[in-house]
Subunit: 241 residues, 2 copies
């Protein structure tokens, strides 16, 4: 079944935060380093989780119609300002705060990401399809050596996944039928929405995304997902690369 699927697929579009990069370890490391320098003690993993939650809250406010569309950069900055105030961190200059906010542009890829993407790129067009903004995704690719052919983001449709128009924006820009494009994610809710929109779907398990935090990862693909793999290298094999 996988060979058959791999044969009709022309492009793969990837969720990024959690699927391609390990945001929680990277963000915790950066904020912990700032805390240490300033002599502040805190649960920095919890800081990272709450910072991340600002992104989800910002997107939900847009979906609910209670806020305008914002870039990930803006949503992270809004939450960062609140968290810094709450931790009584007031000594950072504006450039220092902005540099810290850009920690989301400096996220480490999972160990298999670059090798797996490079393999997949030999057979397929590979691109992002993230709710992060384009500039963030481009800078992250430079930082981590992610070899994208193209960078697509909810920003290009003025919305966020799981809005169907975000998935269709990518397939239309590529000039492909939805089923010729496979959405790759570690999150079943993203894949189920992509599938409903007509895309093919591939699940990659990222059991460590949330570390010891409250949120639990999807350990297995939902039944309607077309292909499931333990990492990008196994995904390449399953797609006939």
């Amino acid at each position: 079944m996988s060979d058959e699927i791999g044969g009709k697929i022309k492009a793969l579009v990837f969720d990024v935060f959690g699927t391609v990069v390990d945001w929680r370890s990277s963000i915790t490391r950066e904020i912990k380093s700032v805390g240490k320098r300033l002599g502040v003690e805190a649960n920095w993993e919890a800081f990272a989780d709450r910072w991340r939650a600002g992104y989800h809250d910002g997107m939900q406010a847009f979906r609910d119609g209670t806020d305008v569309w914002k870039t990930a950069d803006q949503m992270y900055r809004d939450r960062l300002d609140l968290l810094l105030a709450e931790h009584s961190i007031t000594s950072l200059s504006e450039p220092e705060t902005e540099h810290l906010n850009r920690a989301w542009h400096r996220l480490d890829p999972w160990p298999d990401s670059v090798e797996g993407l490079t393999k997949l790129k030999s057979k397929f067009v590979i691109g992002t399809l993230s709710n992060g903004n384009v500039g963030l995704l481009v800078n992250m690719a430079k930082y981590g050596g992610l070899p994208w052919d193209c960078v697509f983001a909810g920003e290009l449709a003025g919305s966020y996944k799981p809005d169907p128009k975000v998935y269709l924006m990518a397939t239309n820009l590529l000039g492909l039928e939805p089923h010729e494009v496979m959405m790759i994610a570690a999150h079943n809710h993203d894949l189920i929405a992509a599938k409903k929109t007509g895309l093919s779907t591939g699940f990659v398990a990222r059991p460590d995304e949330y570390g010891s935090g409250d949120r639990k990862p999807d350990l297995h693909a939902a039944p309607e997902v077309d292909v499931a793999a333990s990492d990008f290298i196994e995904l390449a094999t399953k797609l006939g690369v």
Copy 2:
């Protein structure tokens, strides 16, 4: 002056047809090969030039308000159908005609393009900023090994260069000030429009773009252009790579 400019620039966006790829030789080769197979004789360089003119005419019709926005794929297909009929070529199947139209996705880079872009990529974000559609540009990059960090096109703004909103779309998506982005082109009209919009500008001479055709290349940069080079490798040197 160039070192100073290279220091403040963060991203380079490139015109593609003529600046990065040699469309005329590539298109002439493909259409000549089809003509030979079908036993048709014609001036195939002139065919290529008239096919290319369909793209310029289509964009002008949009600017004049006499036609809707179209992808480059559509504009090339419209003109191809006319040219095939004029040459009494009626034996191509629909898939064969569509494959021929996709010749614009299979354009050879100029000899210095891949090496020069690879050098420039080590210091700058590099992307397209073309009036070609995204899918065409992505496929062309795969075909020619063009190592773009991102693929921007007039399509993302629903317009064509030299509309200022196309240049500003790219700088906004990158999260950069216009002057931090340098437009690179072999065509002064493109650079002058980018400059008026606030971008930095770099000219690269492509004296062979139009071959022996009627259209004449810009051999030298316009006075307002910031940097001029004979190819992408010299451009890299001039920008401090």
